[in-house]
């Protein structure tokens, strides 16, 4: 990768971003009646301003960070961590401790004592996760305290992004896209899935990505459902795990990759054709054209005050059947790549209608148009809702379809 192709990091005021996020968390805590939150999930900790290295899930369970945030507006988070370098300067040293091992009963006991010390008057505390040694034990250790679901507060806080958060997502996506230009250039018959992953990971890490967060997907997609593997819903199987398969002339490739930068996720999905001279068939181009019509209808609907249900109806007005029934029309994107709200999922249109669009919400829209026997088209587009419409954070084009 040539140096001029590297994404330049934006000027993000990280201290301001942390402060604004914590203020949003406390507002959501108040709305949900929480006196304190115990955050065990990495993305919620990230939102509270505490960073940590990303790893496989099992490693993260055992090298885990615990964050407690109280309702007091001036109280920095309390942190128990094996990675003190992930604690920003706005958290004073007396709030930072060695790790709590929540995979062992003694760590859960230590957590209960810690809660008594940092939130002694708490009547209602939210947890975002429950580790195995907590099961059936926690209420007895925290007598007199009502235990609740912290994700009610974290979800409400995280759904609207600050301008700094949007800048982070935009940069994360930029890094991801630059690496994908190299991958697309390598998409020739005879290349293997793991070789594409090599190009991709090299590209994102050279540019300073914090992490790759899903196994890069290069799904070799049959042109009909019947030609693919058995699926549980009679639909197209996607995303299929990558390995060392060879890509062959004419293969329809549905790709999907995602990285993080400073805790914020990208989400990149495109449809490509593997060939020395990739040329979609006329019928495949029609899928793409229809996909664009779906997107135009959805774009025309995005503005503050509309609901996610309006987006679903706009898409269905053009393309009644959404392929990949186990997926959705879209989802939120922030400290997780696929975070609430899920739009057009099996939660149902009544749920979609409860989510009203507001400036700062970031969505990944990923309709799929499928014509069995022809194949289909899928692309992911990240948008941020603005005061009068939306901005696009995805800039990558549509070759070889456009």
């Amino acid at each position: 990768m040539s140096p001029e192709l590297r994404a330049t990091a934006p000027a993000v005021d990280f201290a301001r971003m942390r402060g604004e996020r914590r203020a949003r968390l406390r507002e959501a805590m108040a709305a949900n009646g929480f006196d304190a939150l115990v955050l065990i999930g990495p993305s919620n900790q990230e939102y509270a301003g505490i960073r940590q290295p990303t790893a496989d899930a099992m490693r993260m369970h055992h090298e885990a960070v615990v964050v407690i945030i109280t309702s007091h507006p001036d109280e920095p988070p309390f942190v128990w961590t094996p990675f003190p370098e992930g604690v920003p300067a706005d958290v004073p040293p007396d709030h930072v401790h060695g790790p709590l091992l929540l995979e062992f009963p003694e760590g859960v006991g230590a957590l209960a004592r810690a809660i008594g010390e940092v939130a002694p008057a708490a009547a209602r505390i939210g947890f975002d996760e429950i580790t195995a040694p907590m099961i059936g034990v926690l209420p007895g250790l925290l007598t007199g305290i009502e235990l609740g679901d912290a994700t009610l507060a974290t979800g409400a806080a995280r759904i609207v992004k600050t301008p700094d958060e949007v800048a982070c997502i935009r940069h994360s996506q930029h890094i991801n896209e630059i690496a994908m230009y190299d991958v697309e250039a390598a998409l020739r018959p005879g290349v293997r899935q793991n070789e594409l992953s090599a190009i991709f990971l090299r590209g994102v890490f050279e540019q300073g990505a914090s992490s790759s967060i899903i196994d890069p997907i290069w799904s070799i997609t049959p042109l009909s459902v019947a030609a693919g593997s058995l699926t549980a819903n009679g639909d197209v199987g996607f995303p299929l795990a990558s390995n060392d398969r060879f890509l062959r002339e004419g293969d329809l490739i549905l790709c999907d990759t995602g990285i993080t930068w400073m805790g914020y996720h990208s989400d990149f999905g495109k449809t490509w054709i593997c060939s020395v001279d990739p040329k979609p068939t006329a019928a495949q181009r029609e899928c793409f054209t229809r996909w664009r019509e779906v997107m135009e209808a959805v774009y025309a609907t995005i503005k503050p005050g509309a609901t996610c249900g309006d987006l679903v109806r706009a898409a269905a007005g053009v393309e009644p059947k959404h392929a990949l029934r186990h997926f959705y029309l879209g989802h939120g994107c922030g400290c997780d790549s696929g975070e609430p709200p899920f739009i057009g999922s099996d939660l149902g249109i009544a749920f979609d209608d409860t989510v009203e669009l507001a400036p700062g919400m970031v969505f990944v829209l990923e309709p799929v148009v499928w014509r069995d026997g022809v194949g289909g088209y899928r692309s992911e587009e990240i948008v941020v809702v603005t005061d009068d419409g939306f901005d696009r954070l995805t800039t990558y084009g549509y070759s070889p379809f456009a």
């Binding site: 790893a55 099992m58 490693r59 060695g98 429950i130 994700t151 549980a232 398969r245 186990h326 959705y328």
Partner: protein, 394 residues
């Protein structure tokens, strides 16, 4: 032959794998161990939300993602029927082992009520009286308790940890393969260590080589950082440019067939003159700590003995764990920060365990960080990672 013809696009590695590891037999053996232990603990069913546990009991190879995901019970095991039920993120049967029949997988859902319907329809769930979980969330606990009002919920991560820590022979073959990939990727990275490259470049080199070798799933995001012996090890790779005379920590881990290979080395960044005596001293001190700790990796020892060996070296204890079990991912620390003496004594070291052992030494000018995988045998500890340490050890 029929099998080969029905799967014409299987890459090349799989053919090798079949020679090396009988995965169907391995899956059967692992599942049998889980069912036996469930019976011994009086568990009628278990819900597993953690990918490594789901993989241990079923062999499923779902889409890998980094970070812990919010808990979702995507794998269900019922003792009475011996059946495993799996949630498929792709809705496809492709990555589900053949012994989990096509009637026993369920497409991913965003609506937890659909999962409750799935559980309610699974024979043996509604009349289960004692159910194991490897984690939970307030959301799922709130949905599952009303569905299973008579059942006792029990945490079983300790059960899975104990099972997973004792390796079957085929698991050792997988671990050795993962370790070989990790070593190869780390060595490729070491050859990139030279003045003028960034830390980011080293990390890019590691992951590029890892993928070329056949796996794109990593165990950790890796640490590729210039050491300053006076400061703690810095975990986060940066855009710092390497200079002649730096020593650089190189730590990375990969997953192969779900099994982890992780190691760390510290490399000299310099010219033909080679490292100074002071730089080499870091390696000597590190080696002395590692030798003491690894000597204690024998049957009958505990995490407490590893801690004592580290302390006896006179080096300050590091901020990360001294030793942990390596297998289908990380299987918990044996000795390290946050553990009481009693908890470390409870971490028994036994035959066929694989331990990740690591040490960090600081100093006035240089530091040294290194990690190795060690197999515990009746004849004592056997190193699994064996690549050298380059100029600093010469």
């Amino acid at each position: 032959m029929t099998d080969l013809l029905s799967t014409p696009n299987i890459g090349t590695g799989l053919l090798e794998h079949r020679d090396r590891v009988d995965f169907a037999a391995l899956r059967d053996a692992r599942r049998a161990r889980v069912l036996t232990e469930m019976k011994a603990r009086g568990l009628d069913a278990c819900f597993f939300g953690r990918e490594a546990n789901a993989r241990y009991v079923s062999g499923v190879r779902r889409l890998w993602t980094a970070q812990t995901r919010p808990f979702a019970p995507g794998c269900l095991v019922v003792l009475g029927t011996g059946e495993v039920e799996l949630l498929s993120f792709s809705a496809s049967y492709e990555d589900i082992p053949a012994e989990v029949g096509p009637d026993h997988f369920f497409p991913v859902t965003w609506n937890p009520m659909n999962m409750m319907d799935w559980f309610a329809k699974t024979p043996g769930v509604l009349d289960a009286r004692r159910i194991g979980f490897d984690g939970l969330s307030p959301l799922f606990e709130g949905l599952l308790r009303p569905l299973l009002p008579e059942a006792e919920f029990v945490g079983v991560e300790d059960m899975m940890r104990d099972l997973r820590r004792h390796k079957l022979p085929a698991e050792l073959a997988c671990l050795r393969t993962a370790a070989a990939i990790a070593e190869s990727a780390l060595y490729a990275t070491a050859t990139e260590v030279r003045p003028g490259v960034t830390e980011h470049h080293l990390r890019a080199a590691f992951f590029e080589r890892m993928c070329e070798l056949g796996t794109s799933q990593f165990a950790q995001q890796g640490t590729f950082t210039v050491l300053d012996g006076r400061a703690p090890l810095r975990w986060t790779t940066s855009d710092r440019v390497l200079a002649a005379g730096d020593v650089v920590a190189l730590a990375g881990g990969v997953l192969w067939a779900g099994y982890e290979g992780s190691l760390a080395r510290t490399w000299w960044c310099g010219d033909r003159a080679g490292p100074s005596k002071a730089a080499r001293a870091g390696f000597t001190r590190w080696r002395a700590v590692m030798d003491r700790v690894i000597e204690q990796c024998h049957i009958g020892a505990t995490g407490s003995d590893l801690r004592a060996a580290y302390q006896a070296s006179g080096e300050p204890e590091p901020q990360m764990s001294i030793a942990y079990s390596v297998g289908l991912g990380h299987e918990g620390p044996l000795a390290g920060p946050g553990m009481s003496p009693a908890l470390e004594r409870a971490q028994a070291i036994d035959a066929d365990m694989v331990l990740g052992v690591r040490a960090f030494v600081g100093g006035d000018d240089f530091g040294f960080f290194g990690e190795d995988m060690v197999l515990v045998t009746a004849d004592g500890p056997v190193p699994i990672t064996t690549i050298g340490h380059g100029p600093l050890a010469s």
